[in-house]
Amino acid sequence: MTLALATDAPPFDLPGVDGRSHSLDDYADKPALAVVWSCNHCPYVQAWEGRMIGLQRELGDRGFQLVAISSNDAENYPEDSFDAMQERAEQQGFNFDYLYDEDQSVLSAYGAERTPEVFLFDQDRRLRYHGAIDDSREEEGVTQEYLRNAVLALLKGDEPPVSETPAVGCTVKRKP
């Protein structure tokens, strides 16, 4: 079941492509934390990666942190192995943490179904926005920047203008 709005962020402690472990508590000082289900092989993720990097670059100094998590079954989808994640992060110049949920326990706690799928938490780590990054896979077609607008609202202490949208993308590849 997908995490409901206003729910507390389930904890995690996962290996990152930088060779370190990253837990939810590591981001305690961030007033806005976006946990984004992601992976390597999905064309929808690839289409949005540049905007994920852009958001972190634009809003990181103001206290926003994006964390991408891949839970995909790497046995059946070897393009999503941890080694491949490390390669992609370096190749694309990720400026956010990219974590590997190998046993899919964090996936179960959040209930993500798609990649990319955003869970945005406020300073108290309550879920304030869930869904898509914006309203168009093609960057030139974007008319609603859901995640950016929600982050800006949280940073100002306001309610996100939109709190839930359907995530559009590949299915998360669960283990059989």
Binding site: H41, C42, P43, R137, T171
Partner: protein, 100 residues
Amino acid sequence: MDIEFLFWHGCPSHPEARELLDDVLAERGLDVDVTVREVHTQDEAEELGFPGSPTILVDGRDVDPEGATARPALNCRIYRKPDGGPSPVPTRDQLEAALT
């Protein structure tokens, strides 16, 4: 002309790709029956050499021969736009070229 449209329901791009295909066919005045086949399992994907959803074959030839060599899998297929960017659907140019 024989057109096969193969898809896997787990990827949301097949309606958009089918619409694009129908649009290109209509634009060219081609009244062709499209054989639609849903791929359900990994075994089926391997048997068909299905490199991802959607896959479109014109007279048995993939509209994106380069992408056709990818490992058979139940996933969203990656096509490349002219600028090299990723897309889950083929470009109009790819379809037009395949139908020529």
